[in-house]
């Protein structure tokens, strides 16, 4: 049990009066890499936002445990301080605030001087950033937070293969190449980024439930490609 970093127990969540997560059980160990696949609107990003404490969502039932502590009622900033971080799929624009100023305000590291994305530092956060620039900006911010667990929400979406390679290289170097490896959950619709990280467990979420946990991400992707998400439940190969 000591080895378990994050655990969600039968998490049921509502947003705008509608049930989105319908009893999600997820468990991530220290230093472990997992993937979460699923069709659009299946609840993947909602799960990420709920783990980070977005007050927009109401937890109706269940718990979120981090390092053995029940954090279900913690504010977002408290969760970040404990070591959970999230890269947003579509981060908002913060007008008039330069990325360098934001990093200065949020960084847990003294004199944080990022090697990547120096060109972005003097620009206003996410103002006219391209898709790739937004991803780099997200990575820089998360890097400054010294996280133990990072949820990468669609970090590969909207990027061509070269940019995905670049993003994967940065993640490997900055987050996974250190002596103490962080745990990571890659939320992805396409699965393009998974070949760079070979997740130990690949979860499939459909309509607010994790319906499958596979050990071989290639096999899971193959099956999804062949039968689609809707037929996942019927899949004999992956049923758990």
């Amino acid at each position: 049990m000591k080895n378990i970093l994050l655990k969600t127990e039968k998490l049921r969540v509502e947003g705008n009066g509608k049930e989105i997560l319908k009893g999600v059980n997820l468990q991530i160990k220290r230093g472990e890499i997992q993937a979460l696949l699923g069709p659009n609107a299946s609840g993947k990003s909602t799960l990420a936002q709920v783990i980070l404490g977005n007050p927009k969502y109401k937890i109706k039932k269940g718990k979120i445990i981090f390092q053995g502590k029940d954090i279900t009622k913690f504010t977002s900033e408290k969760r970040v301080k404990l070591g959970i971080a999230l890269t947003w799929q579509s981060p908002p624009v913060i007008k008039g605030v330069k990325l360098s100023q934001l990093l200065e305000r949020i960084s847990f590291k003294k004199d944080f001087q990022p090697e990547e994305g120096k060109k972005l530092l003097e620009r206003e956060v996410n103002v006219d950033f391209s898709g790739g620039e937004k991803k780099i900006s997200e990575l820089l911010q998360i890097l400054s937070l010294n996280p133990k667990l990072v949820i990468f929400d669609e970090i590969d979406s909207g990027l061509d293969i070269k940019k995905i390679e670049r993003v994967a290289k940065i993640i490997k170097k900055e987050f996974l190449g250190k002596k103490i490896k962080i745990a990571a959950l890659f939320i992805t619709h396409s699965g393009d980024i998974l070949k760079f990280f070979k997740p130990k467990t690949t979860n499939v979420m459909v309509r607010g439930k994790i319906i499958c946990k596979g050990k071989d991400y290639k096999k899971v992707l193959r099956v999804i490609k062949k039968y689609g998400y809707e037929k996942c439940k019927k899949c004999q190969l992956l049923a758990v």
């Binding site: 977005n54 900033e77 970040v80 947003w88 624009v93 008039g96 605030v97 911010q141």
Partner: protein, 304 residues
């Protein structure tokens, strides 16, 4: 801020007393009553003999900013200033002007009648900073005359407003002159009434007026901004934006465009909004508390 050390100010007034006058070559600096006595021509601008305030006459381009500081340091002081700044032909200058209260609870008042004359081809950057106490009353009334081919950049910033602020600003733009006017006001439990008017009187004259107003802690802010276009090919633009931070504050924006010449063009944009929840949640997921996140978004808005 450039006015951190008031001891180096070119003009420093403390309550009613002139503490420092530091003249530089090509610039005459005097208390306004003395200027009235010494230079007859100033009477055209002063109208009647001033009680207090500064007179700055810039005859030579100065390579560094001129600094003035008007401070209220004693309780229940009532300043009544008449200021005159004259910039001679083709001269460039920058002025950093601070008006402030030394303490937050002095219950004082500061009234200022200011006239700024930019003669032909002159350029002035006038940075006006206000820092007041929670119980002060402040009423500045500034009038700028921009003669032919002159250029003005006027930045007014009030991050610590008084209880009551009545700010009147008027610009008269002659031929080919241009003005960029920026107002930044962070309302904190204050009542602010702003009246800005730009009269584009000359041919090809230009004026841009930008307002960034924040309503916090039960603030009431009303801004009536007017551009009147009279000159041929004159152009003006109003850009007024308000940000409401708490539900007990109120911002009223009243943009007014008056065009009296069919060859002139004036435009405006105005909006009032609240801080997007998404921005706050994003910043909180970067470890900032709700208040820290609000402060960061507000500071960004005031710079935008």
């Amino acid at each position: 801020m450039a006015t951190k050390n008031v001891k180096n100010a070119n003009y420093w007034q403390f309550d009613h007393k002139v503490k420092t006058i530091f003249e530089v070559k090509g610039v005459t600096i005097l208390p306004s009553p003395q200027a009235w006595e010494k230079f007859n021509w100033t009477r055209k601008w002063f109208k009647k003999k001033p009680k207090e305030g500064y007179f700055i006459w810039i005859k030579k381009t100065v390579g560094f900013p001129l600094v003035t500081c008007i401070t209220i340091a004693s309780p229940k002081i009532s300043q009544n200033l008449t200021n005159l700044l004259v910039l001679e032909k083709n001269i460039k200058a920058k002025a950093n002007v601070l008006c402030n209260a030394a303490k937050s609870n002095l219950c004082s008042s500061h009234r200022a009648q200011g006239k700024l004359i930019l003669k032909e081809g002159a350029f002035l950057e006038y940075n006006h900073f206000h820092k007041w106490g929670e119980k002060d009353f402040v009423e500045p009334n500034y009038e700028f005359t921009l003669e032919k081919d002159s250029k003005l950049i006027y930045n007014y910033q009030n991050l610590l407003p008084p209880k009551n602020l009545r700010l009147i600003t008027t610009l008269h733009n002659k031929e080919n002159s241009s003005a960029q006017v920026n107002f930044v006001i962070n309302g904190l439990n204050s009542k602010a009434e702003l009246r800005e008017s730009i009269f584009l009187e000359g041919k090809n004259s230009q004026g841009i007026l930008k307002l960034r107003l924040v309503g916090k802690k039960k603030s009431q802010i009303e801004a009536k901004s007017t551009i009147v276009a009279k000159g041929n090919q004159s152009r003006g633009h109003l850009d007024c934006r308000g940000l409401l931070v708490d539900k007990n504050s109120k911002i009223s924006l009243i943009p007014e465009l008056i065009c009296q010449n069919k060859l002139a063009q004036i435009t405006h944009e105005a909006s009032i909004g609240k801080i997007a929840e998404e921005e706050l949640n994003y910043l909180r997921m970067r470890g900032l508390s709700e208040n820290e996140a609000i402060d960061l978004v507000v500071s960004g808005f005031l710079k935008s």
